[in-house]
């Protein structure tokens, strides 16, 4: 991974000085806490820290057998697949359309990328406002059409709302990448296919989409990671994990168990599991990217 440059400087101490700041922060705020999480996950201590016991994998076993935790797993899986699939398809559609137009391209792009600037929590607040059971515009419209919307009571409504808010926020990012991917496809390929008699629909699925698949895969991983972690603020703003625990995704549960319920061992174990998931996803992503570079 580190490249072999022929020319390089020969100082001995300067490079250490240069990386010292980053290394220091990384050790203090990444590795030390990660190590602590690992350590804590095999302990059981009470909230005041007065009794500490080494319990091996008991915390993990407890999680495994805890229906609440498994439910959270399911919730997270559902949530992330919805966010990823909806987010990617809508963005792809927009990107395909934006790629076609000649005039106004910059106009559309500007108007579609600004949501990137919106904080997840603000996104949550906005969508809560629109869908608030009593005062929301959209919920009023829904009621007018016969749907009694209440995401505070109905778990399916709650899930739908956080999915919508999460997808809305992520559209810009996906859109930008898809657009760049589309623009990097040589027009001559499309033209050759057209000459061969393929219509737009077939051209898209047999030529454009395969060439776009590295981008799509990359975005898939990014969106899943996003759905796992960056959406904490949305959940906290919209449903607070509710109703009950129905929308408590994994990262939310870690927070809740650690800081509200004060189950430190369980929370640490959950953190460790989350770490494993992220590492797995990131490794997959990088493996694929490296291979794609050969492409």
């Amino acid at each position: 991974m580190t490249s072999e440059r022929q020319s390089f400087f020969r100082n001995r101490w300067l490079p250490w000085l240069l990386i010292a700041p980053q290394l220091a922060i990384v050790v203090i705020f990444f590795f030390w806490p990660a190590g602590q999480a690992l350590y804590q996950s095999v302990l059981s201590e009470d909230a005041f820290g007065t009794s500490v016991q080494f319990v091996g994998l008991e915390n993990f076993v407890r999680l495994w057998n805890d229906p609440g935790y498994l439910a959270s797993f399911n919730t997270t899986a559902l949530f992330s697949s919805l966010v990823a699939s909806l987010g990617l398809s809508v963005s792809l559609l927009l990107a395909v359309m934006a790629n076609r137009v000649v005039r106004g391209a910059l106009f559309y792009r500007t108007l579609l990328i600004w949501p990137y600037a919106v904080a997840p929590v603000v996104a949550g607040v906005l969508w809560t406002f629109m869908f608030a059971p009593s005062v929301g515009i959209v919920s009023a419209a829904l009621r007018h059409w016969g749907l009694d919307w209440n995401h505070l009571l109905n778990p399916r409504h709650a899930m739908a709302l956080i999915v919508m808010a999460a997808v809305w926020k992520q559209i810009s990012y996906n859109f930008l990448f898809f657009l760049a991917g589309l623009q990097s496809i040589p027009p001559s390929l499309i033209e050759a296919a057209a000459i061969d008699g393929a219509g737009p629909w077939r051209r898209f699925w047999t030529i454009v989409f395969p060439l776009l698949s590295p981008t799509a895969f990359f975005l898939l991983v990014v969106n899943v990671i996003y759905a796992f972690f960056d959406t904490f603020a949305i959940v906290d703003a919209v449903t607070r994990g509710g109703p009950g625990q129905e929308t408590s995704i994994l990262v939310y549960k870690v927070y809740f168990d650690g800081f509200k319920a004060l189950d430190l061992g369980g929370s640490a174990a959950q953190s460790v599991i989350l770490m494993a998931i992220v590492i797995g996803l990131t490794v997959v992503q990088f493996r694929f990217i490296e291979r794609r570079v050969q492409y």
Partner: protein, 287 residues
């Protein structure tokens, strides 16, 4: 992309679709702006609120900025100091990250030193550890250093992740070896090479990264939630959330929406003003 078939119909349809997309994406914003110009009563009691602008623009924003009393008698915290906190922390995070990463990437790419690969992997691994997976222990570390409720505690743990280092490393790898050799022959020391050549050449990357990191810093929620207890240290995103008093109870939605707009203006401005570099940088980062 060249138009292969000149189908007018398809073009019109495409524009229509895009406009639809723009409208759907923009609708929440529109609603927010409208809501911020009305009174809380309009919104709550006369629900659903009208979709036309109200007349309370200035009042609402003033209340939002400087705090005050809502129509329902509850206290509204002033947004201005929180905006200041957000601005300060976003700038510190963005600039700090860029500086630290420039130096690290420079060291990794242009020097040979023992353990270089190991150091590189250490930094790489941090990509896989967003703050959300280590909140508990990181909180403890920060607390032990006495950094709760401080700007340092708010920003330092977020400064050292590897995205920026990666971006700069990728970029430095594209700088031709000969440039370095010519500079060495010219007698430039490593830091002179860094200052006179790498920095100017990295300007675009730095700009793109600034946008990304500024937004990242501005939008931080979970971490400030954990380690600030004092209202004077709340960033604006935290402030907004706290204004929602849960459930469906009467909220000062008009002021909340005004605050939401205020909270979104600076990052939106940064994105829109630096759009060109940002798009280029974002797309190149991950490749």
């Amino acid at each position: 992309m060249a138009m292969v078939e000149n189908r007018r119909f398809l073009t019109v349809l495409t524009h229509f679709g895009l406009l639809l997309g723009v409208l759907i994406v923009g609708f929440p914003l529109y609603v927010t702006v409208i809501a911020s110009t009305q009174t809380a009563q309009d919104i709550v009691q006369n629900a659903p609120m009208s979709l036309w602008p109200g007349s309370h623009f200035w009042e609402n924003y003033q209340t939002a900025l400087w705090g005050g009393q809502s129509e329902y008698g509850s206290r509204i915290a002033p947004a201005l100091p929180m905006l200041g906190i957000s601005l300060a922390s976003a700038m510190i995070i963005a600039i700090g990250k860029i500086l630290i990463s420039l130096l690290s990437a420079f060291a990794i790419v242009y020097f040979r030193f023992p353990l270089r690969s190991f150091v590189f992997w250490m930094i790489f691994v941090t990509l896989m550890l967003p703050v959300e997976v280590r909140i508990g222990p990181t909180y403890e570390v920060v607390a032990n250093f006495g950094l709760i409720d401080t700007m340092t505690g708010l920003t330092l743990p977020l400064i050292a992740s590897a995205t920026a280092t990666f971006l700069f490393r990728q970029f430095f790898l594209t700088v031709p070896d000969e440039l370095l050799e010519a500079a060495r022959i010219d007698g430039a020391s490593p830091m002179q090479f860094f200052r006179d050549h790498l920095l100017p050449l990295s300007a675009t990357s730095m700009a793109a990264l600034f946008v990304i990191q500024f937004i990242y810093g501005w939008n931080q929620y979970l971490w400030p939630l954990l380690m600030t207890t004092n209202e004077s240290m709340y960033p604006i995103v935290l402030g907004i959330k706290r204004m929602l008093s849960g459930g469906d109870a009467a909220n000062e939605w008009n002021v909340v929406m005004a605050t939401a707009i205020l909270a979104t203006l600076p990052p939106a401005a940064v994105v829109l003003l630096m759009q060109k570099w940002f798009v280029r940088g974002l797309v190149d980062t991950e490749k």
